[in-house]
Every structure is written in structure tokens, then in C-alpha cells.
Symmetry: C2
Subunit: 118 residues, 2 copies
DNA sequence: GTAGAATCTGACACCGGTGTCAGATTCAAC
DNA sequence: GTTGAATCTGACACCGGTGTCAGATTCTAC
């Protein structure tokens, strides 16, 4: 499919899709004239990328992480290098801390909301 | 205490402390010569601000939220306006979604880490 | 008083993902 | 063939919290 359709189907802007490609998170074939052509699987991949962004991973880490993930169509994929594993463990810690922060802040908000309802 | 000590005790840079004041998140008295002077309670407040930042709230929201929080020293504090309550509820939703995202991403990372350990 | 450390203000830069615009080219449908 | 929609590349801007630098002023300890 073309970039416009991928944008519509994922809700991600055309601009961002091009950016993902530039940062090696998303690949595309090209038509004779140079237009991008995506396989069906690109939809899931873009959604995945968004989710990783939402979790605070930077583009570079996502790019190195993606080839190590099992494509849901069963591609065996690469294995993470020791360096990458170390990075991912650190990300994992960061995520744990983030969840704690978010839980705490949610409690704080709930208190204020409850106080106002009284 | 002076700004340098507050910085040391909270781990937040002097620059950031001044920024918090500029954005009305943190108040200070001034000495005759214009230097900032903070009460003991500022330490907790700064830590709280950091936690709210970490949860993704922007400075403006934090500034409007803070006066509605009970100071742990028992100050009765203001009550949130209906507008603010609406904002906070939206933040709460965002936080819920973030937690979900983070949990999912953590699982993804764990899979990749586990695959590499094999 | 005086020196050195600390603080003051104001300005500019950065990051990284995204929006947006311009001008050129290609695609698709008639 | 022709034309309107879609796509291409490249560039510049934004946000918001923070780093950093410059030059002036104030504080603190001797």
C-alpha cells in the first residue's frame, strides 16, 4: 500500500512515517517513480512503533530493538546483542520507575478530585 | 535556605528551581540583596514537582494543581475549580493509558531479553 | 575591608518527534 | 494525453524542561 493509506489505517501522519523510515524503524519498497510501497505487515509495525514511543523509548533504541522481535508472522528474527540486552534492561528499570511515578501521581490526582467533589 | 542548598538537597539544578519559580510552581522570599530564601518545606515541594513532571504533567497544570493539594503540614489548601477538576480527570485517563502502554512494552522487552538469554 | 564563593538576570542552545510549507515529480483515472 | 490528487525531498519551526555562558551583584568569612 502507499504511504497515504498506511497513514489513514494507523492514524500516524505521513510525516511521521517518513521519519520512521529515515531512522530505520520502518522499511519500504519503492515504485519505479520513487513512491513508497508498504506490505500489509507495516500496519502492525507502525502501531508497535507508536506503542514503544509511548513507553518512552527513543527512536534509536526502537530501531535496534525491532529486528530482535518476533514478527507475529513468525519470522525468527535476530538475537539481541549483549550490548542491546544491557540497554533493554536499563529501559526496563526506567519503565518500572515510571509506572511507580504514575501510580503515585494518580493517587494524588484522585485526592484532589475527591476533595473537590465534597 | 538558599537556592544552592535546596538544589543539593533535592538533586534538582539551580536552573530548574528558578524555572519553577518563573512558572509559579515554587515561591521564595528574597533577602535585602535579592537572593532567594526558601523555607524547609520547599524540599518536599520540589520533590513533589519532580514527581509530577515524571508523570507527564506540564508545568502549567502542576502550577494550578499545587495550591489544591494538602500541604503535609496540614494547610487546608484551595479547592479545585470545576475546570481544573475536568483537566485532572483527563490527566488521570492519560495516566491510565500510559501505565497500560508501559506494562505492554515491559512485556515486549522481557521477551527479547529472555530470547537473548537462551 | 576585602577576597572568593554564591547568587542574580537574561539570553541562547539542545533534544526528538511532529507540523507545515514549497516546489518538483509521479500516479491514476478519464 | 491530460489533469487533479498523491507523493517526493528538504528545510524550518515548535514545544518544554534543562544546560550553559556572561556580566553584574551580593553574601560570607577572614
Amino acid at each position: 500500500m502507499k504511504i497515504g493509506e498506511l497513514s489513514r489505517r494507523t492514524g500516524v501522519s505521513v510525516r511521521s512515517l517518513r521519519y520512521y523510515e529515515q531512522k530505520h524503524m520502518l522499511a519500504s519498497e519503492r515504485t519505479a517513480g520513487g513512491h513508497r510501497e508498504y506490505p500489509e505487515a507495516a500496519v502492525d509495525r507502525v502501531i508497535l512503533i507508536q506503542q514503544l514511543f509511548a513507553a518512552g523509548l527513543c527512536g534509536e533504541k526502537i530501531a535496534s530493538l525491532l529486528p530482535c522481535m518476533r514478527d507475529h508472522d513468525g519470522g525468527p528474527a535476530e538475537t539481541a546483542t549483549p550490548w542491546l540486552v544491557e540497554q533493554l534492561k536499563q529501559e526496563r528499570q526506567r519503565i518500572d520507575r515510571s509506572i511507580q511515578d504514575l501510580r503515585y501521581t494518580r493517587e494524588v490526582l484522585d485526592e484532589v478530585i475527591a476533595a473537590a467533589a465534597r
